[in-house]
């Protein structure tokens, strides 16, 4: 593909030339274009004229008269830009019965995190120079508005009922007395609301909250947990900042308050696999307050905390595809999958300094996380098919075949109207900065990007389900944004009634030409009503017949029912994404909005027929839970995956050529059957084909499928000469194989995945590939242990 591009003669009327003149090309393109221009005086003239027009335009625009807002308008903005600083004088009483004498507080200030590299004033100094207090607690508005504004007042953590709990061994120098009493606490919106809602008696309220909060894992119901949740409430905005800086929320949560007893029940710390960098970061921000003295956390405490966070997550077991003998099983059939949740989830776990459990790694979702430069479709086809074959980097005597689909780009036709119904879990467990608040931010981002004829409705579900926003056209954007802002968490989850209502609203406003979708956002805990998997998926399956599609967004940690959410999305004709940061929310809801929301083909199935004259055996990498029976391929009643506008689907086969060393177990030759003849009547012109890739798909509203056939001849390409995208995908697969500790990993190592990925970053417009490289780097030290 790349070579084709190079050989093409650059036409004078090529947008790339303009892009080059304006400095908008990447280094590779730039080199290519410069070479082409050097060789062709016509192009050079062209380039010069583009520069001239640019200069003319700049001059033209330069001469425009300066304008500005009126003074009145400026005043309004200035007034709004200065939120009143709130002060919170009421000493926080961490006083519930039995609560231990160790409280944990965070004495960071928002800008300390935001400006990590800052060598600026210390928190103490900033505190002294901060603005004088203007409001006492009780002024609702001022506190609401002061989301990020640092409050300035010492907060004393009175330790009532002080149990002589041994203080955890400080791992860094204890902070001074002064620091302990002059803590700067960022008063956050949510915590303030809690205080106010409880009539300024934060203690009880917090504990009530905790009861409904349902801290997961080993912390559940322990006293330690109460402090955990308390501090979480106190810090959502700091957590948000942390999220923005790319860290995962959990990294910045407070850990449990620690007593000997609690430690004992947790057992010994596991061999830590928290990275040194992560440890250092946490230590800077985590404090333990004991009898008014502040000290840092020890490494062991941190490690234990993270170990405990991990325990309640569940993943469906993945049994990897084995090598199949072509003579026995010449057909390989599977449904496409455009989900990417596994990648985001893996990233979260790695960022926490842990290795993800093997079953959390779905290699197809890792592959499909990235955008590849596959050629777009031609003609009426909703997507293109491209196959590339080169040697397999982790088993060089094998071949690696990459099947690539690319959905047509979203802008190719008029934007469809969107009829979106958010179905939002507002149960108590969503009340964590990496869940509901993150979702709300994501929804706001999405709302900003919708057109005014689009409609949004919001259904919330907890103990009872309710409609938080009737279907509202986006020209009433503020109404939508208000409704988003007002959502808050509390109660337990009844998914069923919520699903019923959401689909009902979506069907009410069903737009035949448009996009109709229910977007379910949850941390996966359906615990009231219909919570059994089977009836729930049947309900979803039933609802999917209405033509409304389903997207499932997973949030949070510790209680993630990964397999359940994926299965819901599959049954609801939809996709599943895991959202761990505002960056991911943006990627899924905004950047991929066309893809997430506009289905261009459904029930897309792939069947590969291997030529026994060329291929001895093969193995499909990933897609384990997408396997189909060979006969399902032509059966239009069999459901399969959807592809959306702009989506890329990548699948890799590891292929053992005829004559290569066989891999895996083989079956005894059959005694009573006629031995299959060597390719009997295969005409010469196809006998050298490696395989034929067949696809079936339906139009989004169609019932009968269409078929595409794509014969593939192995051009004997070397891996080093394969396309950038091919090499990058192979690095992703290698990383997945290593993380899965796959028996098929061959010579795959993190190091080789790293070096291949680093050399095949390509355009990497959004920096996702670079981030992947960094993830491998994060995983490296954990493997060395």
């Amino acid at each position: 593909m790349t070579e084709q591009k190079k050989n093409e003669r650059l036409h004078a009327d090529d947008p790339r030339l303009t892009a080059h003149a304006l400095g908008e090309t990447n280094p590779t393109e730039q080199a290519e274009l410069e070479a082409a221009i050097a060789a062709d005086p016509e192009l050079a003239r062209e380039l010069a004229e583009i520069h001239e027009v640019g200069a003319l335009l700049e001059k033209e625009f330069d001469g425009v008269e300066p304008v500005s807002l009126t003074d009145e308008q400026k005043k309004k903005v200035a007034a709004a830009a200065a939120p009143p600083v709130s002060i919170w004088r009421a000493p926080l009483r961490v006083a519930a019965a039995g609560l231990v004498g160790v409280g944990i507080w965070w004495i960071a200030q928002s800008d300390r995190i935001a400006d990590d590299s800052s060598t600026g004033p210390s928190t103490e100094a900033t505190a002294r120079t901060a603005v004088e207090p203007q409001h006492e607690l009780g002024d609702v508005e001022s506190i609401r508005e002061s989301a990020i504004a640092p409050a300035v007042d010492p907060i004393v953590l009175p330790v009532e009922n002080p149990t002589p709990a041994p203080a955890p061994a400080p791992a860094q120098k204890p902070r001074t007395e002064q620091a302990a009493t002059e803590q700067i606490v960022t008063v956050t919106r949510r915590f303030s609301e809690d205080l106010l809602a409880a009539g300024q008696t934060p203690v009880n309220r917090t504990h009530l909250r905790f009861d409904a909060f349902g801290i997961t894992g080993s912390n559940e119901g322990t006293q330690a947990g109460s402090v955990d949740s308390l501090v979480r409430f106190a810090q959502p905005d700091l957590t948000e900042l942390a999220l923005q800086s790319g860290a995962h929320a959990d990294s910045y949560f407070m850990g449990p308050s620690i007593t000997n007893q609690t430690w004992g029940s947790f057992g010994q710390p596991t061999p830590g696999n928290l990275t040194e960098t992560a440890l250092k970061q946490f230590k800077d921000h985590l404090m333990t307050v004991t009898d008014g003295k502040v000290s840092g956390w020890s490494d062991d405490q941190l490690r234990l905390y993270y170990f405990n966070k991990q325990s309640a997550e569940s993943y469906a077991r993945i049994v990897e595809n084995a090598f199949a003998n072509v003579k026995d099983i010449p057909l390989s059939t599977f449904s496409i999958d455009v989900d990417t949740a596994s990648y985001a989830n893996m990233r979260r776990i790695l960022r926490q300094g842990q290795l993800p459990p093997p079953d959390a790694i779905r290699i197809e979702e890792m592959l499909n996380y990235f955008s590849y430069n596959y050629p777009g479709p031609r003609g009426d086809r909703p997507f293109s098919v491209d196959v590339e074959v080169a040697s397999c980097p982790w088993q060089t005597e094998h071949r690696l075949a990459r099947i690539a689909l690319r959905g047509r780009d979203p802008e190719a036709r008029e934007p469809q109207k969107r009829n979106l119904v958010f179905l939002i879990d507002v149960s108590g467990s969503m009340d964590s900065p990496d869940k509901l608040p993150l979702l709300k931010r994501g929804m706001k981002l999405l709302t900003e990007n919708l057109n005014s004829q689009d409609r949004v409705a919001i259904v919330t579900y907890a103990g009872e389900s309710g409609c938080a926003l009737e279907p509202t056209p986006c020209n009433e954007r503020t109404k939508i944004l208000d409704a988003i802002e007002k959502m808050s968490a509390g109660g337990s989850t009844n998914g069923e009634a919520g699903i019923q209502l959401a689909y009902q609203l979506a069907v009410q406003n069903f737009d035949k030409e448009g996009i109709n979708r229910v977007i379910l956002a949850t941390d996966g805990d359906f615990n009231v009503g219909m919570s059994e998997d089977a009836p729930l998926t049947r309900l979803i399956e039933d609802k999917a017949k209405s033509g409304v599609f389903l997207s499932v967004l997973g949030f949070g940690t510790g209680n993630l029912k990964d397999s359940k959410m994926e299965s819901l999305a599959d049954h609801g004709n939809g996709n599943y994404a895991y959202i761990d940061s505002i960056r991911e929310a943006r990627k899924v809801l905004v950047h991929e909005i066309g893809a997430t929301l506009e289905t261009i083909a459904k029930d897309v199935k792939i069947q590969v027929e291997f030529n026994p004259a060329q291929v001895a055996s093969y193995r499909l990498i990933g897609y384990e839970n997408r396997a189909l029976q060979a006969q399902d391929f032509n059966d239009d009643k069999k459901d399969a995956g959807e592809i959306g506008a702009g989506h890329r689907v990548t699948a890799l086969y590891q292929i053992v050529p005829v004559g290569g060393s066989p891999v895996g177990a083989s079956v005894d030759p059959l005694k009573y059957q006629k031995k299959p003849q060597q390719p009997a009547n295969v005409p010469d012109e196809v006998s050298n084909e490696l395989m034929t890739v067949k696809l079936r798909y339906k139009q989004p509203d169609g019932d009968t499928s269409q078929k595409i056939e794509h014969p593939v001849v192995d051009s004997e390409n070397e891996f080093a000469k394969a396309s950038t995208d091919f090499r990058f995908a192979s690095a992703v697969a290698q990383f997945g194989l290593v993380l899965r500790s796959s028996q098929f990993a061959g010579s795959a190592t993190l190091e080789s995945a790293h070096s291949i990925a680093k050399e095949s970053l390509g355009d990497d417009l959004h920096g996702y590939r670079q981030e992947f490289v960094e993830l491998i780097e994060a995983a490296l030290p954990m493997f060395k242990r």
Binding site: A19, Q73, V77
Partner: protein
């Protein structure tokens, strides 16, 4: 140290000083050259900016401002057109007609460049203005206008090609005299 203080006030006001002019010009173009209505829109944009987080917006402030301003101005335009007549105003996105500037400001005082610009389809004018007046990159343009980067590339390319065709013989002069008139 030039680092901005964590004062919420200053960053919005700094942004205001830097972007109010460009944003008013940009929105005025969408609003048939009406500077007063553009000011109203931009005031709202900055009021909304106050509710945003500085840390998140900092790396893409211009992008955010132009996008929000664009959406707000298009909303105003749609609402008004609905009130004035039943005709739907073609959203700048797809319109191939010459932009409002062509009809509203067609007078002899304009430079040849301005007139040539006004003859271009709206979508091309828009990206050219954002690029050459405000220096937005292709990627930022894509984000602001809701198009793909490659589509932006094509629009700019076509716009420049069309201007070259109209201004063809002036290009040489420009090189030697350094003037466009």
């Amino acid at each position: 140290m030039t680092r901005a203080q964590p004062d919420e006030r200053s960053w919005v006001l700094t942004a205001l000083e830097r972007f109010e002019g460009p944003l008013i010009h940009y929105t005025a173009r969408i609003l048939d050259g009406d500077l007063d209505r553009a000011r109203d829109v931009i005031q709202d944009v900055f009021l909304r900016l106050c509710g945003q987080s500085r840390e998140e917006l900092a790396p893409r402030l211009a992008e955010w401002l132009f996008r929000v301003a664009r959406n707000a101005a298009l909303d105003v335009r749609r609402k008004e057109s609905r009130m004035e007549s039943n005709e739907t105003v073609a959203v700048a996105q797809t319109s191939a007609e010459p932009g409002p500037a062509a009809t509203a400001e067609h007078n002899e005082d304009q430079s040849r460049v301005a007139r040539a610009l006004a003859e271009l389809p709206d979508a091309q004018q828009e990206v050219l203005q954002l690029r050459f007046q405000h220096g937005l990159t292709y990627r930022e343009l894509a984000s602001v206008t809701g198009r793909s980067v490659s589509h932006v590339g094509v629009l700019i390319h076509k716009g420049i090609q069309a201007l070259r065709a109209t201004l063809g013989h002036e290009l040489g002069e420009c090189m030697t005299e350094g003037t466009t008139r």
